[in-house]
Subunit: 223 residues, 2 copies
């Protein structure tokens, strides 16, 4: 499903070059469940941004379902993201003027799902994430962990084919974190390809396949 071949991504700041991704080669089959761990700054979020079509590599090829993504125009990439990819961002990126409910509902609205079909799906998601009592709150009226759960809800409401979760439990207590992991793993059992970046060793070890990154490179890749 996913083929990264000799992917590199370098940020240039003045005369300093940061090799955020350094010759990364990785094949991921549809329905896989991978964790990505590694030191702060090792390139995990950058890897997810490339996989999620949010960022283009400077070198190498990213083939997604056989298509070379570098040949896609920006509107095509945006459309592919909307239709196939769910992304839980490390810093959430919620829409500040929309409530928890409206943030989670947004992908359904963009996909043209009619209002009467949206409500039950959003209500169920709010319930699964223990956010029902906070549905009308704006992001700045939510706790850190509540915002994180809204970000998760928005990423998964469309049951996207590829789910990229960047530190999805970092601001959650053990119970809320366990509820989220249960939800993500259910989606994987239904066939969704799941990548979880995490600093939580216990969570990382739940994945069927564990990737470790160091300095922009894949240091180990095993089961």
């Amino acid at each position: 499903m996913i083929q990264l071949e000799h992917i590199s991504k370098t940020f240039l700041l003045g005369d300093q070059a940061v090799h955020a991704l350094d010759d990364v080669t990785l094949t991921i089959a549809s329905g896989d469940y991978l964790s990505v761990m590694g030191p702060s700054g090792s390139g995990k979020s950058t890897l997810l941004n490339v996989l999620g079509l949010l960022d283009q590599p400077d070198d190498g090829h990213y083939r997604l379902e056989g298509t070379d993504t570098t040949t896609l125009s920006e509107p095509e990439r945006a459309r592919y993201r909307r239709e196939h990819i769910g992304f839980v961002f490390q810093s959430y990126h919620l829409v500040n003027r929309l409530s928890a409910r409206e943030n989670i509902e947004l992908p359904l609205v963009l996909a043209g799902v009619p209002p009467k079909d949206r409500a039950p799906r959003v209500n169920e998601m709010l319930e699964r994430l223990s956010l029902t009592d906070r549905a009308t709150h704006l992001p700045n009226q939510l706790s850190g962990g509540q915002r994180q759960r809204v970000a998760i809800g928005r990423a998964i409401i469309m049951k996207p084919q590829l789910l990229l979760a960047d530190e999805p439990t970092g601001n959650l207590d053990s119970k809320s974190g366990a509820d989220v992991v249960t939800l993500l793993e259910e989606l994987n059992q239904q066939g969704i390809t799941l990548l979880v970046v995490t600093h939580d060793l216990a969570l990382g070890q739940r994945a069927r396949r564990r990737i470790r990154m160091v300095d922009g490179r894949i240091d180990s890749d095993g089961t």
Copy 2:
């Protein structure tokens, strides 16, 4: 040093009342080391915001070094914060147009420390937080964990009398997290009062005194 007496804080949204803090009584001696744990949404950040003079309670009294803080004007509160309190925010709140170095340096600038005295202190802090190579990066050119470390550096550079850290290791790998904890505990050993909100049980158990919050109340307070 710190006396919270029957502190309550309620957020009103339309006709819904959220009791973020519900009759909280707590005494903290100078130099104490406390952890605050509890479910997502239980009031931990709100407690820190009240302690840090960022938010006023609706009921009860907050005495700080004998002064009833409700009698302070906003400029007096701002000055007290600047001179005595260091705050690591759950969402960092870095200044986006300032580099890592400049963000960390900011409290020294506000305190009128001369440039030639600032540089060695900032350099040492960058080194302790493994940020030397990222000193000139802007926040959007940093990884999540790097931003978290900048937020920590800024909070501690003035060695404030009271240090409030809201989930300071949430986006850090185990090594960076351990380095930060070492740094915070060193400051406590030098006499700084340290409160750490965390979802990390291992970190929470390092504190001499452990507070657990549930639904805006202190559920347990023990050593």
